[in-house]
């Protein structure tokens, strides 16, 4: 693990600088957002777009830094076993594979297993989610000139930066659970203990960290969460005024969100079969995700009739409810036990 120390120090130091600048931008955004939300006429409208561009650029820089750290982990931390254990291990793996629906690849000493971590693990997932939100906020900003709508986008961004700083900083202590899992491997020298640790780490490396589905299932869901957040802002605005342009903007983001949510949920299914087997139906996270999908799908159906006054308000209420359902789905991972738990 010492081999990674320099990279971790660089990562933390660079991350701290990015977050410090991002905090400054978020402070300006909060100020601009609060003032413009309360005013009838826009104040300093020209600084709105540059602030959002700055925030999105900083999020992109942070995301690039996370990718760099994962590249270092891939390069520097292979799971190398002593040569004398390899035939024994491969006999064990072959025996396991005979009775398993989805087998583990045999160990190849010429190419030992390496972690190929996706950049949305642990706290990084919030950073990726808010990166998507920042980029979507830029697009939404271009589409709608309303200063109150833009103010809401700024406040949303500021809240997200606040969450990163206070509760989900990916740079302060990078990947704590991942490093807690793999540290014993790099501290252990006795071959028999090393073998035991390998058998603990290898299935998780194969079916979780390095799984192909890991590159599509979570990012699609975070993309949908970002789109639902923009739908939430447009739905709130719809409650205050009947402007079809606001509804159309919300619908455009809802379409993207629904596409990402449905595809992401569907792609989680074969992964769950592979990693957990069949015994995971009615898992709380699955329930809440189906609930979110059902509510969001209802929103998309009702907005077809948004020309009726009742359906206009019902549709905007459902947009807000979809956001509440999304938050509930996210928080479910903390408070409900099951396969997706963060407890």
């Amino acid at each position: 693990m010492e081999i990674l120390n320099d990279s971790l120090l660089t990562f933390t130091a660079a991350g701290r600088i990015i977050l410090a600048i991002l905090t400054g931008v978020a402070a300006f955004s909060t100020l601009w957002g609060c003032v413009n939300l309360c005013r009838r006429q826009p104040l300093l409208p020209r600084i709105s777009a540059p602030l959002l561009v700055c925030a999105a650029t900083l999020f992109l820089a942070g995301f690039a830094l996370i990718i760099w750290l994962h590249g270092q982990i891939h390069q520097l931390l292979p799971l190398v076993l002593p040569d004398e254990l390899v035939p024994w291990l491969n006999r064990q793996l072959a025996a396991i594979n005979r009775s398993a629906a989805y087998g583990l690849p045999l160990y190849d000493p010429a190419a030992p297993p390496r972690y190929l971590l996706p950049p949305w693990l642990e706290n990084e997932k919030y950073f990726f989610w808010f990166l998507c939100s920042a980029i979507m906020a830029l697009f939404a900003h271009r589409r709608m000139a309303s200063h109150r709508f833009r103010a809401a986008l700024h406040l949303l961004l500021a809240i997200q930066v606040g969450i990163i700083l206070l509760a989900a900083n990916p740079f302060a202590a990078p990947l704590p659970r991942f490093f807690a899992e793999i540290s014993p491997w790099f501290a252990e020298a006795a071959p028999i203990r090393k073998f035991g640790l390998f058998m603990q780490l290898y299935p998780k490396l194969t079916f979780y960290y390095n799984a192909h589905y890991m590159w599509v299932h979570p990012p699609l869901l975070f993309l949908s969460y970002s789109a639902i957040t923009i739908v939430f802002i447009t739905s709130c605005l719809m409650l205050s005024r009947r402007d079809p342009a606001v509804e159309t903007l919300g619908y455009d983001f809802a379409k993207l969100g629904f596409l990402a949510l449905t595809t992401g949920m569907l792609l989680g299914y074969p992964w769950a079969l592979k990693a957990w087997g069949p015994n995971w139906w009615w898992d709380p996270k699955i329930c809440s995700s189906i609930m979110l999908w059902a509510v969001f799908s209802t929103y998309l159906h009702t907005r077809l009739y948004a020309n009726k006054p009742v359906m206009w308000y019902f549709s905007s209420f459902l947009g807000i409810l979809s956001f509440a359902a999304m938050l509930f789905t996210l928080l479910a991972s903390f408070f409900f036990p099951g396969e997706h738990t963060f407890q």
């Binding site: 629906a101 079809p244 509804e247 159309t248 379409k255 993207l256 629904f258 596409l259 449905t262 595809t263 569907l266 792609l267 299914y269 074969p270 079969l273 015994n279 139906w281 009615w282 898992d283 709380p284 329930c287 809440s288 189906i290 609930m291 059902a294 509510v295 799908s297 209802t298 159906h301 009702t302 077809l304 009739y305 948004a306 020309n307 009726k308 359902a325 479910a332 408070f335 409900f336 036990p337 099951g338």
Partner: protein, 208 residues
């Protein structure tokens, strides 16, 4: 924003909304019952009993959803008065089959009928036929909507074939393909039409 008045479609949408809300409520109940019963710590047999109990609770609403789907699909092919007759006929036949052979067979019958009709709608949508009845116009939009609904039928059918892993996974990928393509065609009909037929930019291939 589309301008629409109340229609058969509208009431079917309202019925779908009610059923989807009920399923959402059951999902929330499922979450809390999982937590309070500590299902994650149960022996496999008790876990399966918990899943069976929740399956039994949600089953009537899934049946309602399948039935709405069964009534919804022929609306693309039939006028309203024939649609009413078709709905009554479908429910009568399904009820009789259910009484004679069990609820599962009746549901399979509705799903099979829906699937056949949806394939017919798909064929007509693919050929660009004007005989199918959509409230919205445009080739890609109609094709997308058809594929999305085909994906939904395949998904429910896929759950039916859960005990057969190979067929189950094959159907699952067909579901995913149809749904994703359907959403892309339906939601991005205009950019797609512009991309494939740039000369038709002034005569949009779809309207919402």
């Amino acid at each position: 924003m589309p301008q629409r008045t109340a229609s058969y479609d509208y009431y079917l949408i309202l019925a779908s909304v009610v059923v989807l809300f009920a399923i959402s409520a059951i999902c929330i109940y499922g979450m809390f019952s999982f937590k309070f019963a500590q299902v994650q710590n149960m022996a496999p047999a008790l876990k399966y009993a918990h899943m069976d109990r929740l399956n039994a609770i949600v089953a009537p609403f899934v049946v309602a959803l399948i039935t709405i789907l069964g009534i919804c699909i022929p609306k693309r092919l039939l006028p309203t008065h024939w649609l009413n007759r078709f709905a009554v006929l479908l429910l009568t036949v399904a009820g009789t089959v259910g009484f004679a052979f069990g609820a599962k067979t009746a549901l399979l019958l509705i799903l099979a009928a829906s699937l056949l009709l949806q394939f017919a709608v798909l064929a007509l949508a693919l050929t660009g036929s004007q005989r199918i009845r959509f409230e919205r116009t445009g080739y890609w939009l109609r094709l997308g909507s058809t594929l999305m609904h085909l994906g939904l039928i395949l998904f429910v059918l896929d759950l039916y074939f859960y005990p057969y892993p190979t067929l189950h996974l094959a159907l699952f990928w067909a579901t995913t393909g149809a749904t994703t393509l359907g959403m892309l065609f339906c939601f991005y009909a205009q950019p797609l039409a512009n991309l494939l037929q740039p000369e038709n930019k002034e005569h949009p291939a779809c309207t919402e």
